[in-house]
Symmetry: C2
Subunit: 540 residues, 2 copies
């Protein structure tokens, strides 16, 4: 293990994080709409955090001043894993140093800060903050930093994908689209070219969505924060009601804003390599891609089923912000009434795309849907977006490979001598390694899920349920959805962490567990797990 190089690169990461905090500072100033009285602490917290980041960065770079520049597989894994850990700690400083409030009268502790920070970087969007709209509790500049971590996390994933995951035969199969680039150059030059292209697409999509949301009437602050949350498939909003908020603001076209966000969540869950092919006018690359076709088909079919079952069970008679209204007052404005079918498509589609892409924005409380809808949305969380997107979950391609592998194995059970190749979009792929890797990945997810589920049930006292109006009988299911929603980087789950709830009331032990789960899920397991293998750190 080349430790000096490790320090050098981690130092760079620390400085980059410190540098990015600068973009949150302006929102504290009155000229950008900040109320200085409330923003003061946030501003000072951010400055303090930047100083610490640069100090840590300088220290690490000094330790690594003699590092060579040869980056092997082991070092690459260590850099990614450790820089994510470092980012979690440093990214949590602004919350801690500004004394942000989790709820009225309750300041965020260190565990809360790390949870919120990891939730941002891993583009999960799970929060411990109960009240986002009061700058006396959460300053605007801190709220912007919170959304910025989504942007940075999404960027990290896009670049990471090229550097780490795109290696080896399994990585190739996950990437599929060989990137058109300067073909006579070294693999490293091509890799850099690919990383740049993906970076530009990501930033471009963020800018486009910000522009559209501005045109649709959002403030620059809201437009930027929601663009970050959407394109990173994160899910942090600046309003307590998440995206459902906009439908309640007079003068804003709620459905239009929602559908804009749906379209960009869909793009964020698409392989960015394929978006590049569309940009260079080769759209067949996208349309012929088996993963993207499956991804699109799942969204269409599941939405149709949720709409059908939801209408049958009257889930959509009242939706979104109306849902909390116990009874419609007599003589209420008739224009407020939406027919259930329209509601069903509008709200069904949004929740499906949001949960499938692992964004986690909500416009309706899907916890109140029928059991079929709740079950199928829970399963969607494990599907996730396409490989090479910012979406989390297991990725659509892994599910395709998993099903194909199992089917081939059943066929081979009675013909052990005949080995048939695995085909992807008609073409056979070099597969013995790939087949095993997919099975191992599912196996690890299963093991991590099961252990974390038991840990949550064991660590979390029953009072977390009973003290907040929830029945403790739901603990088994609720705990399972907490693990699902954090491991797959979604955010909301069912019951105690439903669309209208958050992770505020959990014990520190559970919050630490969830923080790890978000990191493990985001970095596709291995990069984090190997950090715990003693042999990994030995010089060999």
């Amino acid at each position: 293990m080349n430790k000096p190089l490790l320090c050098k690169l981690l130092g760079l990461v620390a400085m980059l994080i410190g540098g990015s905090m600068a973009f949150s500072l302006p929102w504290a100033l009155p000229v950008f709409g900040g109320d200085w009285q409330h923003e003061q602490e946030g501003f000072i917290g951010l400055i303090g955090s930047m100083i610490i980041c640069f100090a840590v960065g300088t220290g690490l770079r000094y330790l690594g001043r003699n590092g060579s520049s040869q980056l092997f597989r082991k070092e690459a894994m260590a850099v990614v894993g450790l820089s994510w850990v470092l980012a979690t700690v440093l990214g949590g400083l602004p919350y801690r140093l500004s004394g942000t409030y989790r709820a009225a009268g309750v300041r965020m502790n260190s565990v809360d800060a790390m949870f919120e920070s990891q939730s941002g970087f891993s583009t999960t969007g799970a929060t411990v903050l109960n009240e986002l709209e009061d700058p006396a509790l959460v300053p605007r500049c801190i709220l912007f930093w919170r959304s910025s971590t989504h942007f940075l996390g999404g960027l990290g994933i896009i670049v990471l994908f090229v550097v780490i995951l795109g290696q080896g035969s399994a990585g190739k199969a996950l990437m599929r689209a060989e990137m058109p680039g300067p073909s006579h150059h070294s693999p490293q030059a091509r890799m850099q070219h690919t990383a740049w292209v993906l970076f530009l697409i990501y930033v471009g999509l963020n800018a486009t969505l910000t522009g559209l949301l501005l045109v649709e009437g959002l403030s620059l602050f809201d437009a930027l924060c929601h663009a970050f949350g959407t394109m990173a498939t994160g899910g942090f909003s600046t309003y307590n009601a998440s995206v459902a908020h906009f439908a309640t603001v007079p003068g804003l076209n709620g459905p239009l804003i929602e559908m804009t966000i749906v379209a960009f969540m869909f793009l964020a869950g698409t392989n960015f390599m394929l978006l590049y092919l569309v940009l260079i006018l080769k759209p067949r690359g996208l349309l012929d891609d088996i993963e993207w076709r499956t991804y699109t088909a799942v969204i269409v079919v599941v939405t149709a089923m949720i709409v059908a079952f939801g209408l049958y069970h009257h889930d959509f008679d009242q939706c979104g912000a109306d849902r909390d209204v116990i009874a419609v007052a007599d003589g209420a404005d008739q224009t407020d009434y939406s027919p259930p079918v329209g509601n069903a498509v509008r709200y069904g589609l949004f929740q499906v795309v949001s949960l499938m892409t692992t964004t986690g924005y909500c416009t309706d409380d899907f916890n109140q849907y029928n059991s079929f809808a709740r079950g199928v949305l829970l399963l969607l969380m494990f599907v996730g977006g396409c490989a090479g997107s910012t979406g989390g979950g297991l990725k659509v391609i892994r599910h395709i490979l998993f099903c194909k592998t199992l089917w081939l194995e059943v066929e081979q059970a009675f013909h052990p001598s005949v080995v048939r190749p695995l085909r992807l979009g008609g073409k056979p792929v070099e597969d013995q390694e790939l087949r095993k890797n997919v099975l191992v990945y599912f196996g690890l997810i299963l093991a991590i899920f099961t252990i974390s589920w038991m840990l949550t049930i064991t660590l979390e006292p029953n009072s977390t349920w009973t003290d907040h109006g929830h029945a403790v009988e739901h603990k088994l299911l609720d705990a399972a959805t907490c693990v699902t929603a954090t491991l797959n980087n979604i955010g909301p789950g069912l019951g105690i962490v439903g669309a209208t709830k958050n992770y505020s009331n959990f014990s520190p032990a559970s919050k630490i567990l969830f923080t790890w789960l978000m990191m493990i899920g985001r970095l596709e397991i291995f990069v984090i797990l190997v950090l715990f293998v003693p042999g990994f750190w030995r010089n060999q």
Copy 2:
């Protein structure tokens, strides 16, 4: 596919089933305690069923009169799979032809009969019968047939294990103990020898337990039925309260009977090959076996945890038959009061051993335990007994191999070139095939579980919950436990199928699904799944 041979062997199975029904006939006669007025229909139903079995058997043997006797792998799989299907249908005839009642006034339909039959043969013990103790609803001779299917199913599994599962490298690893036998003979002769030894151990243990239960005061009828249910890890009882019944009968020593059954459930979950080694005075084979040691350790550790958590949560303040008593009457007999610690060990151990071995006998309503206990018992259902036992579930050895495989894969993630061998009890095993097979098995269980869970939620109307005093919010969890309890051949689950409930109220569609799950789980998936692969039936 050698179809004539298939018919010939299936004909033999049909005749064996018909023949075994004869043993249920005497229980209808007054001399064996039957009340002829109620037994008449059952007796006639059994006779009718026997006639049909022999007719089907004769027909099949006629069709297969020209079959050669060469049994290849494919034919062996087909025979096992199809004979299980045939047994389900034929074994259900006595329920149907005798007009047994599912509940007062509700006769069993064909789906009920097949469910109950499959539940017996697969040694699951899930039932649709609400009232076992009234011979006007369920005749004694039919009740005996019900328990007999456990005995036959357990026998089938023991023999099956030798013939099918003990083949190939994965099978060898599952069996591990090479059977000492006539070593200079052909593999087929050794296989026959092994099958005979296992058969004798199985019958011997059944006889021993019957004898013990007789000594402890049970009637011959009850002793036989409970021995069948125990040694096959089945779980059918002759009382509504299952084994908890005996503690309520004056003159019987409840705890002694319960501990006797615990001991034999434990033996039933042990690899029968290893029991043979003990019989020939080579007990080290048992004590050194990594699977048996893990199996024992899991039971001890989980029981200790259930006892500890249960005492903390006051789960054991009232237990077993006392649990339904809302308040202890003033001046109640003080001798009835058991201290919670004694209760905790007695009831905790019984439920743990019963669910871990996939027997499913109950002495207490574990659905009322704390969330930790409910969760951990649910997970135990997936563990199951040892390979080569009558226990269901995934088997302890598969979990050992699964964990070891995943650990090796994580270690290899940063060293792709170094392949380390998988070790079992210190010895390396030929493993590339084995590793993949274990992962495939877990993958298939995961896929089948997920699909069946969604199917149950979709097929089963909410009224199954709401009409019987259950909250529909528990549908997701309850459905998951139904699938768990049938796929792993346990019987009881949580909530709507908890220890004091049964499968009576489910719709026919769900009952058919559960019937398939019991069969798939019992025959370790492949034997059933390949029946649906078109290529399996082609002549090649």
